[in-house]
């Protein structure tokens, strides 16, 4: 096989991996650290992407500028979604959270279908087609931006969790809920804050994704399985793991398509997910349990 094709596939895989990391980073916090299984992660991303789309179409706000609107908006949505819906209604049971977020994802997706209709939308701006030379191949500028942003976002989340008081509280709640409550941490609030932060990263991901991806009510499907795979592969709660996991998944997809063909090539992601859960549930970088 031609070396340049492999080079191109590598670069393409890494960039795709960056996108997956971006989407999965929030899930690493809410699923990986707090074990809240948010099955609506994909649909909430889709919702945020429609937000970015309409901010551009109706108000003419550039997707990258939308960051300062979408990130806090999604944080607030996440905080109250947990406070008044998910946390309240699930009575703290793992499986109830899974089912409630499933119900939410069905709800969000079909509301989107009702209001926005089923067709895919893309945006085109002066910079969306701008190409940059990277090694042997040309790469769209927004893809590079999203890649860099994914790395920065994971670094920021890692810092947040290790260096700030909020992060300390989140880790305390994750490790020992009762103990955290005893030392005066408002556990429910910490859950809501974490969920908010998780969704805030989705807001950021939506702004960075919109210039390179399409949005339709089913866009979330593309990312649900992938995001869970990245989190499990990287190791629960490890942001470093999310980066590496995302890149591995991106490369697997890219080379799977190259060697196994378009149809069978998609099998890699699901296989990784199954094999990791069966044989190494702590993931690559997770603490052994």
């Amino acid at each position: 096989m031609d070396l340049s094709i492999i080079g191109a596939a590598t670069i393409n895989g890494l960039l795709m991996g960056g996108i997956y990391t971006l989407v999965a980073s929030g899930l690493t916090l809410i699923y990986g650290v707090l074990h809240i299984i948010n099955f609506a992660h994909g649909s909430l991303l889709m919702l945020a992407m429609f937000g970015v789309y309409y901010l551009l179409m109706k108000l003419g706000i550039d997707p990258y500028l939308s960051l300062i609107i979408m990130v806090p908006a999604m944080y607030v949505l996440g905080f109250y979604l947990y406070r008044f819906l998910i946390g309240k209604l699930s009575s703290g049971k793992d499986e109830n959270i899974l089912l409630i977020t499933l119900g939410l994802s069905i709800l969000i997706e079909n509301l989107a279908l009702m209001f926005f209709k089923g067709d895919s939308r893309t945006i085109s701006l002066s910079y969306t087609d701008k190409m940059i030379e990277v090694g042997p191949s040309l790469v769209a500028l927004p893809k590079l931006i999203s890649f860099a942003a994914a790395m920065v976002l994971c670094a920021l989340l890692g810092l947040l969790i290790t260096r700030t008081d909020t992060g300390k509280a989140i880790r305390a709640v994750a490790k020992e809920r009762m103990g955290a409550r005893l030392v005066g941490i408002d556990v429910e609030r910490v859950f809501a804050i974490s969920f908010g932060i998780g969704l805030a990263t989705l807001g950021a991901a939506a702004c960075l994704l919109m210039p390179i991806f399409y949005v339709s009510p089913t866009t979330g499907h593309v990312f649900v399985m992938v995001a869970f795979t990245v989190v499990v592969l990287g190791g629960m709660g490890s942001f470093m793991g999310a980066v590496i996991g995302g890149l591995i998944v991106g490369l697997t997809e890219s080379f799977g398509g190259l060697f196994l063909g378009e149809s069978l090539g998609q099998i890699g992601i699901s296989l990784i997910f199954i094999l990791i859960l069966l044989f190494r549930p702590s993931g690559l970088f997770g603490a052994k349990q």
């Binding site: 089912l99 009702m114 997910f273 859960l277 044989f279």
Partner: protein, 334 residues
């Protein structure tokens, strides 16, 4: 059901069966019969999810794996090897049971429970979809078309009512299975596993083996559901018979009707079929029925953890003296 005396219970079952038998003669328009077929079909595949997810507490998000494998097994047996389509029924049950056993053995050997099990079943279904999409024997992404030849020997009926009685018979079998599970030792062991797996283990229950058995049974039912689907619509392709939405529908009908109850899936299925037919014909707004269904799921998890069937039960419990409820529940455990 437990609150009923055996005589009342015979009346209930007999009455339901009589209604189901008379239904297609009273409402004999193709539309109504089609509605009956769909409602029973959802009840049947919902029961497949229910005996694993409801009775044994093994929440799965990928039950469509069994459905799809059954659909392909029966169609391949018929189209590629020339067997009678009726042979598709045992073939699909076998295929569903095997896949159920394999998925269960792998996942439970690794100790996966709760949400981890739910997610890995989803991944297994996805793997099967991709395989069906890529290999030759399934016809790949183009799917398989079963030629139309409307004779009884060919599992096709010129009138929909034929299909109605086939799916009614299958549903009756599934309900009988569920009633048996409610009353037999095996079912009691499953309930123990659902309520507290560690305690069940401590009681000497072979948790691993019981869970594999129930997944095989559930898989067999799901597989037969796939066979019926293939014969009714005469066309299958990977994204239809391995699609996530079918998994979700199987889960929804039994969660909403009442997971772990005998008639939960039936109640949920009548509601699902009713809502989707109604919203499609009356409003023609895309997605509305699922919006209602998603909302219903959230409400049910929050307020009626045993599903809509609780609406009937609660009233009974309130009117019955507290004492009898207590003795009943303790006597069932012994």
């Amino acid at each position: 059901m437990n609150a009923l005396s055996s005589r009342q219970s015979w009346f209930l079952h007999g009455g339901l069966l009589a209604i189901a038998l008379i239904f297609p003669f009273v409402f004999n328009s193709p539309f109504a019969v089609n509605f009956g077929v769909l409602a029973l079909f959802y009840a049947f595949i919902g029961q497949s999810w229910n005996i694993a997810g409801g009775f044994a507490g093994q929440l799965s998000f990928g039950h469509v794996a069994f459905f799809g494998v059954g659909a392909y097994a029966s169609t391949i047996v018929q189209m590629r090897y020339g067997f009678s389509p009726w042979m598709g029924l045992p073939a699909s049950a076998l295929a569903g049971a095997v896949i159920g056993g394999v998925i269960a053995a792998l996942s439970f050997r690794a100790g996966l429970k709760g949400s981890y099990f739910a997610l890995i079943t989803l991944a297994f279904a996805e793997v099967l979809r991709i395989i069906a999409n890529s290999v030759e024997i399934t016809g790949g992404g183009l799917g398989m078309l079963i030629p139309m030849k409307q004779t009884l020997a060919n599992f096709q009926f010129s009138e929909r009512i034929g299909f109605y009685f086939v799916i009614l018979a299958l549903t009756v079998v599934s309900v009988v299975l569920a009633i048996w599970l409610k009353n037999c030792r095996f079912g009691a062991r499953l309930a123990a596993i659902r309520e507290n797996e560690d305690a069940a283990l401590a009681l000497g229950i072979n948790v691993f083996a019981e869970k594999i058995k129930i997944m095989m049974l559930s898989g067999a039912i799901g597989g037969v559901g796939g066979c019926f689907f293939a014969q009714y619509f005469l066309y299958i392709d990977p994204s239809i018979v391995f699609g996530v939405d079918k998994s979700v529908e199987m889960l929804l009908v039994s969660m909403i009707g009442g997971a772990g109850t005998v008639y939960g899936p039936l109640i949920g299925a009548v509601l699902l079929a009713g809502l989707s037919e109604y919203t499609r014909t009356v409003t023609s707004v895309q997605g509305l029925s699922l919006v209602l269904y998603g909302t219903l799921l959230v409400i049910i998890i929050a307020f009626l953890p045993n599903g809509l069937i609780d609406l009937f039960r609660r009233r009974k419990k309130l009117s019955a003296p507290a004492q009898s409820v207590l003795t009943k529940s303790t006597s069932r455990e012994s």
